[in-house]
């Protein structure tokens, strides 16, 4: 009886963890055309492993490790425009926008798209977010599962190697340039 309960709990936690992972297979075909790709997929096991470093981790990272369950990042950069069509990325949006994601902002243009969705927990609480952005020469998908919202992410400015830029409508375009510059230095 206990064995069955343990099995059920394990199965449910596995299903929950699997459900949180977004399906990015739609981007597989575009990977071949990309000149540069970044692919990060950290699940609960990897985050647990990272937390094993204990006090060696920066305090911010320790805090995030306790609240974030999964981090997925995929970016594709293309040498020239027109490497993909919006129809191709439509598959991505269909496969990603499922489950507990609530679309917050959705902008579609001729040569790109922007989508921000919030992830809601079972009690309606914040459980992460999803950003999809398509530019003529770049596609980026960021999915975070856990108690990290956009404002919490903004607070990481100047910490953990995140450029020290205050997010706000004023001077955004000016600071955007410096963000890129700082990131280029970091990478």
């Amino acid at each position: 009886m206990i064995k069955k309960q343990v099995f059920a709990v394990l199965l449910m936690s596995w299903l929950a963890a699997a459900a949180q992972e977004i399906d990015l297979r739609a981007l597989k075909a575009l990977e071949a055309k990309a000149s540069e790709t970044t692919d990060i997929n950290l699940g609960p096991e990897q985050i647990k492993l990272m937390m094993g470093l204990g006090s060696e981790l920066a305090p911010e990272l320790q805090g995030l490790g306790k609240t974030v369950e999964r981090v997925q990042v995929k970016t594709l950069q293309f040498d020239k425009e027109g490497a993909y069509t919006l129809a191709e990325t439509e598959k991505l949006r269909e496969s990603v926008m499922t489950g507990n994601l609530v679309s917050l902002i959705s902008v579609k243009k001729k040569n790109g798209f922007t989508e921000i969705a919030m992830r809601k927990g079972p009690k309606g609480e914040n459980a992460g977010f999803l950003i999809e952005r398509g530019e003529p020469t770049e596609i980026a998908v960021v999915s975070i599962v856990g108690q990290l919202d956009l404002s919490s992410l903004a607070k990481l400015s100047g910490k953990l190697g995140v450029p020290n830029i205050q997010m706000g409508p004023a001077e955004t375009s000016k600071k955007k340039g410096s963000a890129k510059q700082e990131e280029e230095e970091l990478f």
């Binding site: 970044t38 990060i40 950290l42 990897q46 985050i47 492993l49 990272m50 094993g52 470093l53 981790l57 990272l61 995030l64 490790g65 981090v71 997925q72 990042v73 970016t75 902002i105 902008v107 922007t114 921000i116 950003i131 952005r133 980026a140 960021v142 975070i144 956009l150 992410l153 903004a154 990481l156 400015s157 953990l160 190697g161 995140v162 450029p163 830029i165 997010m167 409508p169 955004t172 375009s173 600071k175 955007k176 963000a179 890129k180 990131e183 970091l186």
Partner: protein, 108 residues
Amino acid sequence: MNESPDLELQLREALRETSAPPLLRARILNAAASRGRRSSHAVLWRRIVALAALLTIGSFGLYRWEQRRRAEAVAEQFKLALRIAHREVLEVQAKLVVEVPVQLPQTN
């Protein structure tokens, strides 16, 4: 003095040179060899145990080192993911400000 011939006889009998029993030499050599074998077995076993202990400690150390290396790699990836997420938020915010200008109400 009557007893002296007997005593003498007994002494002579006791001190008489006798030949060693057959196979005594072989038995002694055999015993010495088997003691040597036992001691070499013990040394061998000690070496095996020491080697096993060394291997166990070494494997554990290697496992811990590998785990640590992986954890550090995950931490780096985690930080990179956060940097990209931060950059994406900035990009989206900048785009939305440019493309969807919001007219903020005047306070005075």
